[in-house]
């Protein structure tokens, strides 16, 4: 646990990322100079998914990375670049970005009766693309570290690594020894790869989300679909590997009989099976989403006060930059804490499902 705080301090070097927020904000100004500035729109645009990766807008011209759109609609599979949508003023081949409340910003098509329906949408959106990049980075880092040990095994010389590999070893072993082992107990080896993968997967996505320009900046772990899959994994891990005693404690707990015969306790316990991973999902999603929202809100201060005279505007700019730096630091901390908490709670839930009959203890 001691070492963990040291890791967090090291990761503060990501502060540079937060300092770049004002630069990012300048781009927003260009976009909204004609219309009235709406902080809500800016925040929503940033935290939600998109079909293209918008970089900046110069003199009203959008500069963005086109991403492939893959949809299976009524007329079969369609694959095209998102730039086609812009060329066709928001529509291509019968698909268009919805303006309605229900599907706002999503690609829809019209069915025979003229209603908007969503096609099967497998598009490589901004979040998907970012997810793939981050997965690639994660694989490169961990496999790179693992290759050091493989090489070492071949030569037979067991030496402690230095530098980055040593740093990664420290984190991996810390998570395993301080989180996984104490929470799960003797069967920890079966669950250790999943929990470590989850930790590093969340961590890398959180940290990449803090970088405001291209390879980062997507709100991946602040999207409920991502945290849903992660918590589903934990859910299945907990319940598939749960012991007989775990299920007995749910459906026939050690409480007075009147609590069990109209099955109050079993119902509560059974609901608890689902609320635990649900809480995991919401916690990670809400924390990261809130972090991104606050960071952008603070930047938006500059533009909200732009109409209130130069004195207020310039003073608020200073405040905004200072607050952005502060929020950047807090976000780095939150990124690590949320990855850690997700892993810790998953380990705790898995550990709770590994109970043995209480004949010796308690």
């Amino acid at each position: 646990m001691k070492d963990f705080s040291r890791i967090i301090v090291l990761l503060f070097c990501f502060v540079a990322a937060s300092a770049l927020h004002p630069a990012f904000a300048a781009e927003e100004q260009g976009k909204h100079e004609s219309a009235a500035f709406s902080a809500k729109d800016v925040i929503m645009e940033h935290v939600t998914d998109a079909y293209e990766w918008h970089i900046t807008t110069i003199n009203g011209k959008h500069i963005s990375i086109p991403l492939p759109v893959i949809v299976v609609g009524q007329n079969g599979l369609n694959v095209f670049f998102s730039s086609k949508l812009e060329e066709g003023h928001g529509s291509y081949n019968g698909f268009y970005l919805s303006e309605s409340e229900k599907y706002k910003g999503k690609l829809v098509e019209k069915n025979a009766s003229g209603e908007e329906i969503r096609p099967w949408d497998f598009s490589i959106t901004k979040n998907v693309f970012s997810l793939l990049i981050n997965s690639g980075i994660l694989l490169a880092i961990i496999l790179g570290v693992a290759s050091f040990y493989k090489k070492q095994k071949k030569t037979g010389e067991l030496k402690a690594p230095r530098g980055f590999i040593g740093f990664m070893e420290m984190i991996v072993m810390n998570i395993e020894n301080e989180v996984i082992k104490p929470c799960i107990g003797k069967n920890y080896a079966k669950f250790s790869p999943y929990l470590l993968t989850a930790f590093f997967f969340i961590l890398i996505n959180n940290l990449m989300g803090l970088i405001p320009i291209f390879p980062g900046g997507a709100n991946v772990t602040g999207n409920i679909a991502i945290t849903l899959i992660l918590s589903l994994f934990t859910f299945f891990y907990v319940n598939i590997f749960g012991t007989k005693e775990y299920w007995r404690e749910i459906f026939w707990p050690d409480v007075p009989i009147w609590l069990k015969v109209p099955p109050f306790m079993p119902i509560i316990e059974f609901v608890g099976v689902f609320t635990k991973p649900f809480a995991l999902m919401i916690r990670l999603f809400a924390n990261i989403l809130a972090g991104h929202s606050i960071a952008i809100s603070i930047v938006c201060l500059v533009f909200i006060t732009a109409s209130q005279g130069p004195a207020l505007n310039s003073s608020m700019t200073v405040v905004s930059v200072l607050l952005s730096v502060f929020m950047g630091l807090v976000e780095v901390l939150v990124s690590c804490i949320q990855a850690y908490v997700f892993t810790l709670l998953s380990a705790v839930f898995i550990g709770l499902a590994q109970v043995e009959p209480h004949t010796v203890k308690r």
């Binding site: 939600t48 893959i70 997965s135 496999l143 040990y149 402690a160 250790s192 993968t197 997967f201 994994f233």
Partner: protein, 165 residues
């Protein structure tokens, strides 16, 4: 809208996380954790071996010291014995030489004695012969005349008479 998971993202997340998980669970983390565990046990074993070797060295050193001490004691004992033996041999030799010498001396002395006696005897015999010869020659010369013979007889008779009375 924020709370409704998007199907496409669910699909891609499921796919990519599964692949990442599969690869890392097979080739990533177990390799790292196993190697670190191996290294830990290797270090543990090495420390244990070093401790044992150290103990062995200490015991060997003790044994060595004991050996040296006993060897030294043995040396002292052997030296002492050698010195004793030497003294004994010397004294024995000396005694023997003394007795031998004594014996030889005795023999010499006896020989000398007997030779001396022999010489005395020879001397005495020669003296007797010589004195008899001299006496004869003297007698012959001094008793040449009648008178001299008578004087002598007279004197001898006197002497005999004197000694008789």
């Amino acid at each position: 809208m924020l709370l409704s998971p998007d199907f496409g993202l669910l699909f891609w997340m499921m796919l990519s996380f599964s692949i990442v998980f599969f690869i890392l669970a097979k080739f990533g983390f177990p390799v790292i954790t196993k190697s670190v565990a191996e290294r830990a046990s290797y270090i543990h074993d090495s420390l244990e071996a070093a401790k044992k070797a150290n103990e062995k060295v200490v015991s060997i050193k003790q044994e060595c010291d004991e050996l040296v001490a006993s060897a030294r004691a043995e040396q002292v004992k052997i030296l002492r014995e050698a010195a004793d033996t030497r003294d004994r041999i010397i004294s024995e030799a000396r005694n023997q030489a003394k007795t031998e010498g004594m014996k030889e001396l005795q023999v010499f002395k006896q020989q000398l004695q007997s030779e001396k006696e022999q010489a005395m005897r020879d001397l005495r015999l020669q003296m007797a012969e010589l004195s008899v010869g001299v006496a004869e020659k003297i007698l012959r010369s001094s008793l040449g005349s009648e008178k001299a013979q008578l004087d002598l007889i007279g004197r001898l008779v006197d002497e005999a008479l004197v000694s008789k009375s």
